[in-house]
Structure formats: structure tokens, C-alpha cells
């Protein structure tokens, strides 16, 4: 949590410009998603239930609070095509899933969003550590997940070729629920073995995506072979998928990667995101700020708010704790406020991302004990 006035703070002008852009984007998104000629069957049907006319009564971002909260349960089951905006009919579409260990997974229809999100993200990566043209390893969940294709696209966008492994997170969740911890360890080893095989096969891999837990396991697996992430030639790591704590990040930087990037030559950037939203980037995570991890959504396409636990329309004060609320406004997908299963502290605008962020993201206290987190 940051509450003083640090050097990285955005200026008043930057904040105002970003706000103006967000208001304009929110207005245009609502026009697109609720106009009979361009909106999706889902939202056009929902429009009938609303007590206001979104086409005339949503003029700025804050007007989105007139909508009822988005329920991710709406994403379970089909038909998936009801999510395709009429304005995009005929374009090749993907479906990305979340959950699904038991029962029907939540499905999100995607056309180009994953490419756009990850191209935007690509521009935030330092070329020094993520060299253009270098090859990548995707050490994360495979199958019907956004990450698999998104990372591959990111890599290709940067001129490289992406190597992947097989990892089924639904099986991992089942192993945990069954208490088959030996199987869990073996499966983890199976994934890490695949990764080490690729990394040691002379493919000139310099960059990778992985989750915190898998990064830890990879480092341990390499250590068993008397080598390290640094020695094996990785210079840039983009990590996400599960919770990051400052302490874990510090451990990762100091002990798994060989020190801060300027000393070790290995840079790791934590990210926060999910299939509903794009990808939130973090401010540089540094020792001087006790490895505080503050995320900023890719505005105006997506917005992160930290809202009061009881009144979800009220944003908490800077430095205060609240529930994470997401908004997504792309041509393909519209989420006018979704309460994430996370909580955190509201962060002040950063000059590179002059809007509110969130730090200290962790499972929402009311769900924390019942949620299986950090499964891969």
C-alpha cells in the first residue's frame, strides 16, 4: 500500500486526460453493445430488464454503476453465440474457459481481444530483458484457456516462437481435493520435467510465462541439476495466474532469480488478470517499496476499482482496503462491474498508468477459506 506522494505519482493533467478518455470509451462501448444493429443477443435481451435506457442515460464511466453487477454465472452454459455482438458476426471466434473442474465451466467468447490485450502488454515489457526475436516458453495451463494462445501471440508479436507444455489445471484441482498430494507432486514434476527438457534443448529461449508456484518449482528443479534460471539463459519472466505477495516476490527476485534485474540480468514482472478482463500490469516492484505490487488495468479497455465491502458502488479511499471490482469494455465483451473474488488496497495513479490501481491483492476474506487458490 502506498499512501504518501511518491515520485511516480501521475500529474493532475495526466489523470484528467485519462479520465476524459475513459468517459468517452465507456459511452462508445455502451452505444456499441446496446444498439440493435451491433449489440450481442445477450446484452440486447438484458436491455429489456433494465430500468433505464443505456443508449441515452450512460454518458460517462460512472454511469455504468446504473447497471446491475455482472454475474459470472451468466457465462456458464450456452449458447456461446449469444455473446457475439452483431457488429462482429462472421469473424472467427474462440471460446476460453475458466473453472470446470466439476460442472460446466465459464466460457468467454473472444475474437481479437486476447491479441489486442497482449499486444498492449507487449509494449510495457522492457526490450532489454524481453529481447525482440527471442523464443519463449509458456509454462502454464494449457487446454481451453486464454493464456495458451495469448502467450503464443505475445511471443509471435515480438518476433519469437513459443514452446509450450501440457498442464491440465482441472486435474490439479482434483488432486488437491482428493488429497492425493503424492500425485500432485508427481504431476508438478512431470510439468517441470517438460519445461527443463525444452529449456536445455538449445532453443535459445530467453523469455517465459509462468505462475509463481511453477516458477518456484522450476527453480528447484534446475537447482537439482546444479543450474538456475539465470544460468539457463532466461532474462525475462512474465508471471501471473495466482496470488503474488511482496514477500514471495522478494524471495523470487533475491533467491530464485539471483537478485534485482540490474544485477542478475533476469527481470520478472507480476501481472493480474483473468479471462473476463485483460491484463493488469504492475508498477516496477522494488526493494525500496518493500516489494509492493500495485496493478493497473489496461484502461480504457478495462478498469479496476477497489470498492467498499458493503456498498459496491462506493470506491474506498487511497490506501484503504476493499473488494476488487472489474469493468471490461471492448468491442467483443462488456462487463459493467464485476466483483472479483479478491480484495486489496486502492493505489494512487501512476504516471505511466494515470488512473487508480490496486495493491496487496489476495483472496477476498469471505471466500478465502473455501477457495482452492494457487493450484498451478
Amino acid at each position: 500500500m502506498t499512501v504518501s506522494s511518491p515520485a511516480w505519482l501521475a500529474t493532475t493533467e495526466q489523470i484528467a486526460t485519462a479520465k476524459q478518455s475513459l468517459d468517452q470509451h465507456a459511452y462508445e462501448s455502451v452505444q456499441w453493445h446496446f444498439h440493435d444493429s451491433t449489440g450481442s443477443p445477450f446484452w440486447l435481451e438484458k436491455k429489456k430488464e433494465l430500468k433505464f435506457d443505456p443508449l441515452t442515460e450512460v454518458k460517462v464511466f460512472d454511469d455504468l454503476k446504473k447497471f446491475p453487477e455482472f454475474e459470472d454465472e451468466w457465462l456458464r452454459g450456452g449458447p456461446i453465440n449469444r455473446w457475439i455482438p452483431k457488429g462482429l458476426l462472421g469473424k472467427p471466434a474462440y471460446v476460453f474457459e475458466t473453472g470446470g473442474t466439476t460442472g460446466i465451466p465459464k466460457s468467454r467468447m473472444v475474437i481479437d481481444d486476447f491479441r489486442i490485450d497482449y499486444e498492449l502488454f507487449s509494449h510495457t515489457l522492457p526490450d532489454e530483458y524481453f529481447p525482440k526475436g527471442s523464443n519463449w516458453l509458456m509454462l502454464g495451463p494449457s487446454g481451453p484457456r486464454r493464456l495458451r494462445l495469448a502467450i503464443e501471440h505475445l511471443c509471435q508479436y515480438r518476433g519469437g516462437i513459443c514452446f509450450c507444455i501440457d498442464l491440465d489445471p482441472r486435474w490439479v484441482v482434483k488432486l488437491i481435493k482428493k488429497g492425493w498430494m503424492e500425485h500432485l507432486e508427481e504431476y508438478k514434476r512431470h510439468c517441470i520435467d517438460q519445461a527443463i527438457t525444452i529449456l536445455t534443448a538449445n532453443h535459445d529461449i530467453k523469455c517465459m510465462f509462468t505462475t509463481p508456484k511453477l516458477l518456484e518449482s522450476l527453480a528447484a528443479g534446475l537447482a537439482e541439476k546444479d543450474t538456475s534460471i539465470q544460468e539457463i539463459g532466461i532474462t525475462g519472466i512474465f508471471s501471473g495466474g495466482t496470488e503474488f505477495t511482496p514477500q514471495w516476490t522478494r524471495f523470487c527476485v533475491e533467491e530464485l532469480l539471483g537478485g534485482p534485474a540490474e544485477e542478475s540480468g533476469v527481470y520478472m514482472t507480476p501481472t493480474y488478470g483473468n479471462t473476463l478482463m485483460g491484463l493488469a500490469c504492475s508498477r516496477p516492484v522494488i526493494l525500496e517499496e518493500d516489494y509492493t505490487i500495485a496493478y493497473y488495468a489496461p484502461q480504457p479497455r478495462a478498469v479496476v476499482e477497489v470498492v467498499d465491502f458493503d456498498d459496491h458502488t462506493k470506491v474506498v479511499g487511497y490506501g484503504e482496503t476493499g473488494r476488487v471490482k472489474l469493468y471490461t469494455m471492448t468491442k467483443e465483451f462488456f462487463v459493467p462491474g464485476f466483483l472479483e473474488r479478491d480484495e486489496g488496497e486502492r493505489e494512487m495513479p501512476y504516471k505511466k498508468y494515470p488512473w487508480d490501481g490496486v495493491s496487496g491483492v489476495r483472496p477476498y476474506r469471505a471466500f478465502a477459506s473455501s477457495t482452492t487458490v494457487g493450484v498451478y
Partner: protein, 480 residues
């Protein structure tokens, strides 16, 4: 407020993650404890061999001398702890505040730990059956009958996932140090005090700091210790014990289901043993696995139950600082409520009678904690569910069972005190493999002779006896 840091091979690690420890009654914060994660433990364990190497650099007799010095420091001196220091009184107060145990019980547990360490040479002599400790250091040696023996150490460190509630169990890992085996401990979140103070005493006494790790943290820390240490101890529930059953790498300690078995030859004189029964049930507020949870007899069970209820039923809750306090608080009131609900289910069964029912409420809820006052129940048959129960407060079931059926009905028993002089029955009891510690005669279940192995011999756990043959070699002299 005191900040207690994780210790990684003797060095304090200033974590960014903390867990606060609060006084169970006042809610006052006592300390904040830095946390580590499993990955950190995994990385550290690559250097585990250094711990044994450091300990082996000191001859065993010298290590024993330093252990005795550590015992004195532990019991009497102010010691470094985290970012400050801790006096003996502070230790007692802090331990009581976070575990709910009355202070005089904390002091007793402290003395128990100290006793083991002060007498470590005698205890090791008993555990090794008099073998020269150099054999364990070197790996082989002369037994004394012109026979070479070899004890190969199976691990450079002993891992231990320690409990929250019972400061007495720490005696089990203390002897690892003079056996030149390092310690990798995950302290219980409410009872970090004993392991921290003991390691501090060891280091102050001159034991190499690099032999010790203390890893406060979450479940992943415990599972990593269990995975990465070739030998480890865990303290948990019956489920935990089942989970590790038959695993030679793990010594699992759970509920004891300790019992007093009264033979037909003395059962008519049961009143002579009432003090012994009360002590067995009540000591340490019934929290230990060595506390008696079942008293089995073929007759007089109702009278025994009434007499025990008369002695224990009226015991009141006293402040933890009161030297007469006999009851420990449940620092998590939900646990007390849950336990009481389970007891209510036991009592619902026909043939089960609550002998303490007339002595007032058993569950006493406070603002931040709760107490369960002692309970004595009778069961008219070993078939009653309550006959196999053990709870975390002074609770005993007096079970009616014929002597001939007793051994086969009692189930797993950590400490069995048999009140009998019946030689044939003693022989049967001696051969009963489900009784671990067997006391023949009037010995409370809660009184341990430390010269006897407890829940397995640590020597057998840490070392493997194997063949080792030495034939002199003729080595050619080097030229030049």
C-alpha cells in the same frame, strides 16, 4: 512489540509477511512472527548437509556438555529472541497468553524440556543401550564384544511440524542435536515460544547456529519440510497419523487414547487409585496425548465415575496466572464449541451417562476464548462410541468391560497403565502390540520415565543398523 524472525541455518531472515500473536483473553498483541514460504524451505534444504557437518565438527561429549549448558540457559537466563530478548518470566507469560495454558503449567512444561536436556547423556545412554556415541558420529565402531557395529545416519536434519497446544512435546526432538543431526522446525502458530527459546539456548551454549532452521509459515511450509527432510516428525490428528502410517521417513504423533486398565484382582480397591486417576486425566489440563481418556474396569464403573466427577466436576476456571488454575482456555472459542457438540453426540447414545451433569455448565464462553470444564462419563460397554474418544480438555470415559475382553477392546493406546498383579494378564498386556508405553502398577499415565523411548526410539528413526566389515588393507608406499 516483539518481532520474531524466521531462522535459516542460524541466520535471522526479515520477512515481509507477518502473523500476529494475540493474548487469548485480552486480545493484546504479543508478538509478530515473520513467515516464510515452502519454496524458501525447498531452496534451503539443498544445504542441509552443512548442518550435520557443523555438528560433527564438535565431539559428542562436548556437544552433550553444551546441551546441558543450553538446558540451564533455557530454564534460567534471559535469551535473545527475534529483535529483542526474553526473560524466563516473559517466556512463561507469552506462552500462556497464546496457548491458553495456565502459567504454572507452562513452567512445568519448561522444566520437563529442561530435564530432558539436562540429562541428555543418561537419556542417550538408555536410547542407545549404552553404545559409545562415537559410533553414531563416525558411523561405525567397536561395540565392546569384539564386534563391529554400524549405525548409519539417515538424514542430515530432523524436520518437525510442531503443534500449537502442547509445549511438552518438544522433548522429542531435543536429542537430535547431540546425535549431530540438525533441526528444521515449523513452530506452531500459537506456540513458537519453546522452539525459538530452545534454539536460542542451543546457540548461546555454543552449538553451531548453522544447524538450525525455524520456519514459521503456512501449510506449504509443513508439507515441504515433510517432503524434503529424509526424517521428520509431525504432530496432528488421528487422520494425520493414519496418513503417514507405515512411512519410514515420518514419525507421526497424534491423539494418545491413553488408558488406565484396572484388573479384577484390584478393582474392588479402586478407591486406592483415585488420586492416580485424577492426575492422569487432569494434568496439563488434559491436553497431552499421555493424559488418560479412558478408565476400564469390569465393575464399580458407576462408583468410579461418581468419585472422579466429585473430584473434578466442580473445578472452576481460574485466571492463567493463578497457581491453582487447572484448566486451559481454548484460544479459538469455535474449537471449544465444536468439541462440546461432539461430546453431546457421544452422550446421546444409550448406555452413556454424564457424571458431571450436576456440577454446572461445562462449556463456558468468554469474549475471545472458551473453556470446557472437566467431564466424566460412564459407558456400559466398550461398544459405546465414547469409549474410543479423546478430547483436548480433561475428559474421561469410565468403561465397563470384562478383563478377558479388555485388551482386544481398548484399541490403540499410547500409554496403558495396568493396575494389576495378575501375572497371566500382565503377560498378555506385555504382548499387546497396540499398547505403546506400558506401565504395570500404580503409575499415572502422564508420568513419563525419560530413560524409556517414547513413541518409537529416536535412534531407530534417525539411524539404520547395518553390516560393516573392516579388513585391514595393505597400501603400497608411495614412491618419491
Amino acid at each position: 512489540m516483539l518481532t520474531i524472525n524466521p531462522i535459516r541455518w542460524g541466520k535471522q531472515y526479515k520477512s515481509l509477511d507477518f502473523q500476529e500473536v494475540f493474548h487469548f483473553d485480552t486480545g493484546e498483541p504479543i508478538a509478530k512472527i515473520g513467515q516464510v514460504n515452502g519454496g524458501m524451505v525447498e531452496m534451503d534444504m539443498r544445504k542441509a548437509a552443512n548442518a550435520r557437518k557443523a555438528l560433527r565438527s564438535i565431539p559428542t561429549p562436548e556437544l552433550i556438555a553444551r546441551c546441558k549448558k543450553a538446558a540451564h540457559l533455557f530454564e534460567h537466563e534471559t535469551l535473545p529472541l527475534g529483535d529483542g530478548h526474553q526473560t524466563v518470566d516473559e517466556f512463561i507469560h507469552q506462552q500462556s497468553a497464546s496457548t491458553g495454558l495456565p502459567e504454572h503449567m507452562c513452567r512445568n512444561n519448561m522444566q520437563k524440556n529442561c530435564f530432558v536436556l539436562s540429562n541428555i547423556d543418561t537419556i542417550l545412554d538408555a536410547l542407545t543401550r549404552g553404545l559409545d556415541l562415537d559410533i553414531f558420529s563416525k558411523g561405525y565402531g567397536e561395540e565392546g564384544r569384539n564386534v563391529t557395529v554400524s549405525y548409519q545416519c539417515q538424514t542430515p536434519v530432523l524436520g518437525a511440524v510442531l503443534p500449537n497446544n502442547s509445549p511438552g512435546v518438544h522433548t522429542l526432538w531435543l536429542p537430535a542435536v547431540p546425535l549431530q543431526v540438525g533441526l528444521v522446525l515449523k513452530p506452531g502458530s500459537q506456540e513458537p515460544w519453546t522452539p525459538y527459546r530452545m534454539i536460542s539456548a542451543y546457540i548461546e551454549a555454543g552449538i553451531p547456529a548453522e544447524a538450525f532452521c525455524l520456519y514459521p509459515g503456512g501449510h506449504d511450509v509443513g508439507s515441504t519440510i515433510m517432503n524434503k527432510c529424509s526424517r521428520s516428525m509431525i504432530f496432528g490428528s488421528a487422520h494425520t497419523v493414519d496418513q503417514y502410517s507405515g512411512n519410514p521417513r515420518v514419525q507421526a504423533h497424534g491423539p494418545g487414547f491413553s488408558k488406565i486398565l484396572i484388573g479384577d484382582d484390584v478393582v474392588d480397591q479402586w478407591e486406592d487409585y483415585l488420586d492416580l486417576m485424577v492426575e492422569s486425566v487432569l494434568s496439563n489440563s488434559g491436553r497431552s496425548c499421555i493424559n488418560c481418556s479412558g478408565i476400564w474396569a469390569s465393575r464399580h464403573t458407576k462408583a468410579i465415575g461418581e468419585a472422579l466427577a466429585a473430584r473434578m466436576g466442580a473445578i472452576e476456571i481460574l485466571p492463567p496466572t493463578d497457581p491453582k488454575a487447572a484448566l486451559a482456555a481454548f484460544t479459538n472459542p469455535q474449537m471449544a464449541k465444536g468439541t462440546y457438540a461432539m461430546v453431546q453426540q457421544d452422550l446421546a447414545e444409550a448406555g452413556v451417562t454424564d457424571m458431571t451433569a450436576s456440577f454446572g455448565e461445562r462449556l463456558v464462553e468468554r469474549e475471545r476464548s472458551a473453556y470446557l470444564r472437566p467431564m466424566v462419563v460412564t459407558a456400559d460397554s466398550p461398544q459405546r462410541g465414547v469409549a474410543m474418544k479423546e478430547y483436548m480438555f480433561p475428559f474421561v470415559s469410565v468403561v465397563q468391560c470384562s478383563q478377558k475382553d479388555m485388551i482386544k477392546s481398548i484399541g490403540s493406546t499410547l500409554v496403558g497403565t495396568a493396575l494389576t498383579a495378575d501375572e497371566a494378564w500382565i503377560d498378555d498386556l506385555t504382548n499387546a502390540t497396540h499398547i505403546d508405553r506400558l506401565n504395570i502398577g500404580p503409575m499415572p499415565t502422564s508420568r513419563l520415565n525419560w530413560l524409556q523411548p517414547h513413541e518409537g526410539n529416536l535412534i531407530d528413526f534417525l539411524f539404520r543398523s547395518r553390516a560393516y566389515q573392516v579388513v585391514p588393507m595393505r597400501v603400497p608406499q608411495s614412491v618419491g
